[in-house]
C-alpha cells in the first residue's frame, strides 16, 4: 500500500497518529534535532539530516526505573515500577537507525535473558522509516553504505517514507504498517508515478555512496583479534581520545548500562542508566583491580566490541555507520578511520 500527503500538512498526519498513541519524532532543539515525544503536532519537522542522539532512547531510555523504595524500610515494601506501555510511533527514522534496532534486538531479546523493557517498548512501537535525501551528499562523517545499508532501505520499518518534491510518500512494509496506513484518513492514495518514484528511490539509495569501500564483517573481526596485543597501534589511534562518553551516548548500538541506587530524603530508586566503556571506573572492581586503566585499552574495547566481539558473539557488526560518534567527538576521532587503518596494518 502506497499513500501520500503534502509535507506542508504533515501536522495533520502527526495529529492523527497522536490520537492513537505516543508520537516520537525529531524535534528541533538548541543544539540540533532529537527524537522526543511530540506534545504539539506542529512540532514535527522533517527538515532534518539526522538527530544528535540516536532513536535507541525510545526503547532504551537513558534512565529506566526498576524499583522504588524507602531507605531503611523492609525490602517487601519496595515496589517494582510497572511499565505503562502505550502504542508508540517512531516517526522519521533514517534507514541506518532502523537497522540498529535489529542489531539491538539480538542482544536485548534474541540471546540469553530477555530484557523486558526493551521487549515491551519495541513490541508496542511502529517504525516510520524515512529515506535520506539523495539529492544532497551524505554528511562527511556518515559511512552507512560502507556497512551495506542503503540510504533508502525500507527493511525493518513498518512504514517507509520518501520525500517526493513537496509530497511525502508512505509505503506499508509490514502488516502492522498496512493496518496503520489504512486507518490514516488524512492520507491520499498515491499514483502509479509515485510508486515508480518510490521504487526508483529505494534502488538509487542502494547505489548512494558514503565514504570508504564496502567491508565484510568476518575479516574485520579476525583482524582485530590479531591486533588486540598490538599496543603500539592502539596507543597511536587513541592518542587524542579524551575518554569521555560522547560517542557511546549518541550511538544507536551502544547498550552498556549501570544499575544505580539513587536516593534523596529517604526516597530511593533503583534504576539503570546508560554507562560507557570509555569511563575509567567502568571496569573498576571492588578489589581495586581495573583491567582497563589506560585510554588505549578503553578505546580498544569500544572498537573491538563493535567490530570484532559483537560479530563473533552475535553475527553482525555492531555499527550502522550513522556517523554520530564522529560528529559528537570533541577531538574528531572517527571509528571507521580506525577500522580502515587496522585493515591496512
Amino acid at each position: 500500500m502506497l499513500k501520500k500527503t503534502s509535507i506542508s500538512e504533515i501536522s495533520d498526519l502527526a495529529a492523527q497518529l497522536m490520537g492513537k498513541g505516543a508520537l516520537i519524532a525529531p524535534v528541533r532543539e538548541e543544539a540540533g534535532f532529537n527524537f522526543r515525544e511530540i506534545s504539539d503536532a506542529k512540532q514535527v519537522d522533517l527538515n532534518f539530516y539526522n538527530t544528535i542522539i540516536s532513536p535507541k532512547s525510545a526503547f532504551f531510555p537513558q534512565t529506566e526505573d526498576f524499583v522504588r523504595y524507602q531507605t531503611g524500610k523492609d525490602i517487601l515494601e519496595a515496589t517494582p515500577v510497572e511499565l505503562n506501555i502505550k502504542p508508540a510511533f517512531l516517526f522519521g527514522v533514517r534507514p541506518c537507525d532502523v537497522k540498529s534496532f535489529e542489531i539491538m534486538d539480538i542482544h536485548f531479546t534474541g540471546t540469553g535473558a530477555v530484557d523486558p523493557y526493551w521487549q515491551k517498548r519495541r513490541e508496542a512501537a511502529a517504525i516510520f522509516g524515512y529515506a535520506f535525501d539523495l539529492n544532497t551528499p551524505a554528511d562527511g562523517a556518515d559511512f552507512y553504505s560502507t556497512l551495506g545499508i542503503g540510504a533508502a532501505d525500507p527493511e525493518g520499518s513498518d512504514v517507509f517514507m520518501i520525500k517526493k518534491g513537496d509530497d511525502l510518500l508512505l509505503k506499508a512494509i509490514t502488516p502492522k504498517g498496512e493496518k496503520l496506513l489504512a486507518e490514516m484518513s488524512v492520507l491520499s492514495d498515491a499514483t502509479p508515478d509515485d510508486l515508480n518514484y518510490f521504487d526508483d528511490t529505494v534502488a538509487a539509495g542502494r547505489a548512494f555512496k558514503t565514504r570508504f569501500t564496502c567491508v565484510e564483517a568476518k575479516p574485520i573481526a579476525k583482524k582485530f583479534e590479531d591486533l588486540f596485543g598490538n599496543t603500539e597501534f592502539w596507543e597511536k589511534v587513541s592518542n587524542a581520545c579524551l575518554s569521555c562518553g560522547a560517542c557511546t551516548f549518541v550511538c544507536p548500538t551502544c547498550y552498556c548500562f549501570d544499575i544505580c541506587d539513587e536516593t534523596l530524603f529517604g526516597k530511593g530508586t533503583r534504576r539503570r542508566v546508560w554507562d560507557a566503556c570509555m569511563f575509567t571506573d567502568f571496569t573498576l572492581e571492588a578489589s581495586g583491580h581495573n583491567p582497563r586503566t589506560k585510554v588505549y585499552q578503553r578505546l580498544r574495547q569500544k572498537v573491538c566490541h563493535k567490530y570484532s566481539y559483537h560479530i563473533r558473539k552475535y553475527g553482525p557488526i555492531s555499527c550502522v555507520g550513522c556517523g554520530r560518534c564522529t560528529r559528537a567527538c570533541p577531538v574528531n576521532i572517527d571509528i571507521f578511520s580506525i577500522v580502515d587503518e587496522a585493515m591496512k596494518a
Partner: protein, 286 residues
C-alpha cells in the same frame, strides 16, 4: 512485570551469620527465601553466583558458597571490600544482623561443569578467600548421593595464616574422611599451628597429583594462580583439564549491561567458569 524480570531481586532473610576469620572481615551469610515460589525457582549448581542486593546501597556479585545438596537455605561468604574502592554493599551487609532482609538475584552464570567432572579424579586448589564456590563443589561431590559419580578427590587449600582459613569446621570434618584427601597449608603458621606451612604452588608440587583422568579446579588470588599453573603444566595437565573462575566487575549478571566482557565472552553469562584452553582463546583483557 516482576515475573521474568531479571533485574528485580527476590526477598530473602539472613537466618545465620558466621564470622569466618580472625580479622572479622569475612562473614558467611545464610539466606532463606521469603517466598516459597522463589525458592522453588532457585535451582543452582556449584560455581554459580548471585547478586546480593540492598536497596539504597546497590548490588554485589557473590559466588554461592553452599551446595545445592543443602536444603532450605543458600549461603554466601562475603569479604568486606573497601581498602581501595568503597564497597557499599559488602559494608552494609557486614553491619547487618540475623533476621535482616535483603534482595537476591540469581542463580547467575555457568557452573563448574559437573558432567565433565563425572568419573574423573578432581584436584581442587584454593587460595585465601577465593575458596567459596570450591567449597560448594566439594560439598556437592561429597554428598552421599553424588560421591560415587566422581573419582578421587584431592583438596589443596591455603591461606596466609591459620586464622584466615575459611570453613574451619568443615576442613576438620574433611580431614577425618577417607574418601577425600585434604591438604591444608598456611603461608606462615602461629604457635598453635601444627599443620603444613608453605605456599600453595609449592604444596601442589609436593602433593604432585597425577594428571591421568584428572581435572584441576583452581581459584585464588592472581599471584597464586600465576605460580600454580606452571606446576600443573609440569605435572602434565592439559589446558582443557584446568578450570578456573574469573572475576570482572559485573552489574546486571545476565549478559546485558556490557560491563564484564573479556573479548566476545561475558563473564557473567558465558562464565564465570572457564577452562584454561578457553581463556587462552580470549584477549588478555582481565
Amino acid at each position: 512485570m516482576c515475573l521474568n524480570n531479571p533485574y528485580i531481586p527476590m526477598p530473602v532473610e539472613i537466618i545465620k551469620i558466621i564470622d569466618e576469620v580472625d580479622t572479622h572481615d569475612i562473614k558467611s551469610f545464610r539466606l532463606k527465601f521469603l517466598n516459597p515460589e522463589d525458592e522453588a525457582k532457585f535451582k543452582y549448581l556449584p560455581g554459580q553466583f548471585s547478586e546480593l542486593s540492598i536497596y539504597g546501597k546497590g548490588e554485589s556479585p557473590i559466588g554461592i558458597a553452599s551446595s545445592p545438596t543443602q536444603d532450605g537455605y543458600v549461603e554466601f561468604t562475603v569479604q568486606r571490600a573497601g581498602a581501595i574502592v568503597p564497597g557499599l554493599v559488602t559494608a552494609a551487609l557486614h553491619d547487618m544482623d540475623e533476621g535482616a532482609k535483603i534482595g537476591l538475584r540469581g542463580p547467575l552464570g555457568n557452573s563448574w561443569p559437573i558432567e565433565f567432572l563425572e568419573k574423573k579424579n578432581i584436584v581442587v586448589v584454593g587460595g585465601g578467600f577465593a575458596f567459596t564456590t570450591l567449597r560448594s563443589l566439594i560439598n556437592y561431590m561429597l554428598h552421599k548421593d553424588n560421591r560415587s559419580r566422581f573419582g578421587e578427590i584431592t583438596v589443596i587449600y591455603g591461606a596466609r595464616t591459620p586464622g584466615l582459613l575459611l570453613y574451619k569446621d568443615e576442613l576438620i570434618q574433611w580431614e577425618k574422611r577417607n574418601d577425600i584427601r585434604t591438604v591444608i597449608t598456611v603461608d606462615k603458621g602461629d604457635e598453635t599451628w601444627t599443620g603444613r606451612q608453605g605456599f600453595v604452588p609449592a604444596v601442589c608440587k609436593d602433593v604432585a597429583p597425577s594428571p591421568a583422568n584428572t581435572v584441576a579446579v583452581i581459584c585464588g588470588p592472581p599471584i597464586m594462580i600465576k605460580f600454580t599453573l606452571p606446576v600443573f603444566f609440569e605435572l602434565g595437565f592439559s589446558k582443557e583439564n584446568i578450570l578456573t573462575s574469573l572475576e570482572m566487575r559485573m552489574k546486571c549478571g545476565v549478559g546485558k549491561c556490557g560491563r564484564c566482557n573479556v573479548g566476545y565472552k561475558y563473564v557473567c553469562s558465558d562464565g564465570p567458569v572457564f577452562s584454561l584452553a578457553q581463556l587462552e582463546e580470549l584477549p588478555r583483557d582481565f
